[in-house]
Amino acid sequence: MTDTTNTQAESAEQQNGSGDINSAAAIAANKTPATSGEVKIHCVDVDVFYGETQAIKKVSIDIEDKAVTAFIGPSGCGKSTFLRCLNRMNDTIDICRVTGQIVLDGGDIYDTDVDPVQLRARVGMVFQKPNPFPKSIYENVSYGPKIHGLASSKAELDSIVEQSLKRAALWDEVKDRLDSPGTGLSGGQQQRLCIARAVATAPEVLLMDEPCSALDPIATAQVEELIDELRQSYSVVIVTHSMQQAARVSQKTAFFHLGLMLEYDDTGKIFTAPSHEKTQQYITGRFG
């Protein structure tokens, strides 16, 4: 760390970080890149087409285990599309076609013998809008373990539900009303419920598509804290529009622009010394 960045960070903190572009850099600069360096998902030359339109062009990226990787970039740059490739959610769109290699723990997930359903159990996903099932909290969390046969008894299922809710930092708030509908919770609670639901299937990778965009700042802070904790056990990939958020929660950041991944590096480096001109312009708010 250089003195200049430190000074920047201090001044950013004095401005309380609200809306100031520099604050993202400041937050990022204060972080220590604590990555394991182990590659969880290895992507080579991934192209995605929607019909004739190419949405993702030749993206190659190594997503690390036990780290939070953030995808940032202006709207329509393809970061969500790429995220949805990682658990083959794009398969549900008829006209979508994916080429290239995405290797999870040594196996290509687009191999013909890979069952997308099984894959999605290993690569969990949290969506932009909280989307709990209109069922009880307990049923929401227990659904995944049930369909994948993770629990052999009711007691085991109960403890999976409890631990998942605890991991999602929701247990204390809902432990007395597990039978009440999940849709009755507040927005932030709903999103944490969705995270608990994803965690309950014991995935190895957790994909988050703008998980805080529908939440207020307090709920956002809770979810971010949670993401930081989840990093201990999972590889977390998060798409975000908020550069402050990327800076706060991620260790690695990838910058997408017009379907290309322009830059991928340690979060601290991206926000303080981006090597690409577009990245520089984006994080300083000159476009996007």
């Binding site: 658990n87 959610m89 549900t92 008829d94 359903v117 099984q118 894959l119 999605r120 159990a121 290993r122 969990g124 996903m125 949290v126 969506f127 809008k129 989307n131 709990p132 099932f133 209109p134 659904y143 995944g144 369909i147 994948h148 969705c194 639901r197 994803a198 299937t201």
Partner: protein
């Protein structure tokens, strides 16, 4: 080329005089549109009120049914005694004789052979069976004299409800004296010449109408005469002339006859009630006289004097001449001539007498709900049709609902979007608009009759596996008709389930099938059920396709299972409506009311489901 526009000038137009009138025109247009809307709603509301009031008004006529309280000694034949002792409830005894004797006993005085037929048709044809049932329930009353209620014949019930009119009282002030009846029961009554004048008025009007008709006939014949005379002048040969002359003579004779007839009728019309005696015919209004406990029917009238037949004895004792002071007697007129109604004057008099004696009873009509169809209007009920409708609806639901749900889930969740599925979608939507009778024809051909096929000399029949008239066949046809409705409703409500729910399930690693059955279907179910109930309600009111598969048969017992012949409420309404017996009119209205109640209940259930489970995303 565009011209330059000065926008300041345009702005000035907002405040100009032209603008004011434009504004006025706009307001006026709004007022007009509102008025049209209100008028349209008014017309619709009026039509609805008219419809409902007609139905409810007619239904009111069958809410009660009329019984007569009779007294009889229950004497049964040995054969009937055996049947009455039999445990089997289907072994019924018809104690018609007992009931007929009881009716005869209830009528004061002697009744002759011809009158006894009229007497026994006062009560329902099944009154003997009902008495038999009563005796069967309690064999100890055999041989005893009991009082029992006998259901009145539909014509008598209609009479008591005043459908054909009741005798109207005529002013009568002076005394009346009646001679002793001769051997034919004919008497002569004398009264104040100023009495019962209005009666003559009514008869006179009737005759004047007839005379007018005779006069018209005379004019028609005159016309023929005129035309033929002209032809005669134009005729060229003698032979032709002779032919025409013969025709002319015929016409002239006919005209003279018509003229004489008309003159006579006009003369009669003026002299009725005068000193000349006038014989009343069956097509004249009936003139009746009540004197003391008895009744007379007048057959010949003149001023101050009338000849009549004793219908009920005027005194309790032996037949002799009798005098009645003012107030002890009363003259009546039945405007409707005896020949145009199904109640004879004798029966009218009897019914009046029974009512005066308090023998007529009004009982809440549960028969219409608990009994099945019958040829006699007073016995007919809807129960068989309700059971038939129930079986039909069960079959329809069991066939259409699973098929509809499966089809809609497949089309929405699994089917690839291509030309074939587009074609299927368009066709399903078109099927919903196909006239129901077409489904009836299809069902008749495939389910009931079967389609004969001849391939390379081998003849066989495709289909034709369902029995005609059965709720199974009817239900299958209605299922064909309801299927598109359910599919359309099902697809709409499946589409209304937000994609985020599917994403959530798929993101957790649920398969497409699991996503559909665990999440999409349960969420769409209220909507699918609502659509299905509306489709079923439509099917419940459907008539045309069921007529084709023979569900309009005359069936007197409720179908025990979906394979037995039965009919349904709408076809029963159709049958009853085409029945000539007047009481069936009212029963038709009652059946319509009940059908409407069912439909309203089903629609209410659909609304309730929608309200209860409606979810906003």
């Amino acid at each position: 080329m565009s011209t330059t526009v000065d926008f300041t000038e345009l702005s000035a137009k907002h405040t100009g005089e032209a603008n004011k009138s434009r504004l006025r025109a706009r307001y006026w247009a709004e007022v007009r549109l509102k008025a049209y809307g209100i008028a349209a709603i008014g017309v619709a509301a009026f039509a609805l009120v008219l419809l409902l009031s007609t139905i409810v008004g007619k239904t009111a006529g069958v809410i009660y049914e009329k019984y007569i309280t009779l007294e009889a000694t229950v004497e049964v034949s040995d054969r009937d005694r055996e049947r009455l002792a039999d445990e089997n409830p289907r072994m019924r005894a018809n104690l018609r004789g007992v009931v007929q004797d009881a009716v005869a006993a209830a009528i004061p005085g002697e009744i002759g052979r011809r009158e006894s037929r009229q007497a026994s048709s006062i009560v329902s044809g099944d009154a003997g069976l009902f008495l038999g049932d009563q005796v069967k329930a309690d064999n100890s009353i055999i041989g005893q004299t009991i009082e029992f209620d006998a259901l009145l014949d539909d014509n008598m019930q209609l009479y008591l409800k005043g459908i054909v009119g009741r005798p109207e009282e005529i002013k009568s002030t002076g005394p009346l004296s009646v001679t002793a009846p001769d051997e034919d029961g004919i008497v002569t009554a004398t009264f104040d010449p100023s009495d019962i004048g209005p009666i003559f008025e009514a008869v006179r009007e009737q005759r004047a109408d007839d005379a007018e008709r005779a006069r018209a006939e005379q004019r028609r014949q005159q016309n023929a005469v005129d035309v033929t005379e002209e032809r005669l002048l134009e005729a060229e040969t003698d032979e032709e002339r002779a032919q025409i002359q013969t025709r002319l003579d015929n016409f002239i004779a006919a005209r003279d006859r018509a003229e004489a007839n008309a003159d006579e009728l006009f003369r009669l019309a003026t002299v009725i009630g005068e000193d000349v005696s006038y014989t009343l015919s069956e097509s004249d209004p009936s003139l009746l006289m009540r004197a003391g406990p008895g009744w007379l029917k007048l057959t010949e009238v003149e001023r101050g004097r009338a000849t009549g037949t004793i219908y009920l004895p005027l005194s309790d004792g032996d037949a002799a001449s009798a005098d009645f002071a003012e107030g002890e007697w009363q003259a009546y007129i039945m405007e409707r001539p005896e020949s145009t109604r199904l109640q004879t004057d004798r029966q009218v008099v009897w019914m009046e007498n029974f009512e005066d004696r308090g023998l007529i009873k009004e009982v809440l009509n549960t028969r219409i709900l608990t009994q099945s169809d019958s040829a006699s209007a007073e016995l007919a009920g809807i129960w068989g049709a309700v059971v038939g409708s129930f079986w039909t609806m069960i079959v329809t639901f069991l066939l259409a609902f699973p098929l509809g749900v499966m089809a809609s889930i497949y089309l929405e969740e699994f089917a690839p979007k291509n030309r074939v599925t587009d074609l299927i979608e368009v066709n399903i939507n078109n099927l919903a608009a196909v006239p129901s009778i077409v489904f009836g024809l299809l069902g008749l051909a495939i389910f009931v009759s079967g389609v004969p096929v001849n391939i390379f000399g081998t003849e066989f029949t495709i289909g034709g596996f369902l029995p005609r008239s059965s709720p199974l066949a009817g239900g299958a046809v209605l299922a064909l008709m309801t299927l598109p409705t359910i599919i359309i409703a099902g697809r709409a409500s499946i589409r209304a389930v937000p994609p985020s729910i599917r994403d959530a399930a798929l993101g957790l690693g649920a398969s497409k099938l699991q996503t559909a059955t665990h999440h999409v279907l349960p969420l769409a179910m209220p909507g699918i059920l609502t659509g299905s109930i509306i489709g079923m309600a439509q099917a419940l009111g459907e008539t045309a396709p069921l007529l084709l598969v023979g569900m309009n048969s005359f069936i007197q017992e409720p179908p025990a299972d979906p394979l037995s012949p039965g009919n349904v409420l709408p076809t029963l309404i159709y049958q009853w409506n085409s029945n000539s017996e007047r009481l069936f009119d009212d029963k038709t209205a009652a059946a319509i009311s009940i059908l409407l109640i069912f439909l309203v209940l089903m629609n209410a259930l659909a609304v309730l489901l929608r309200k209860r489970f409606e979810r906003r995303w």
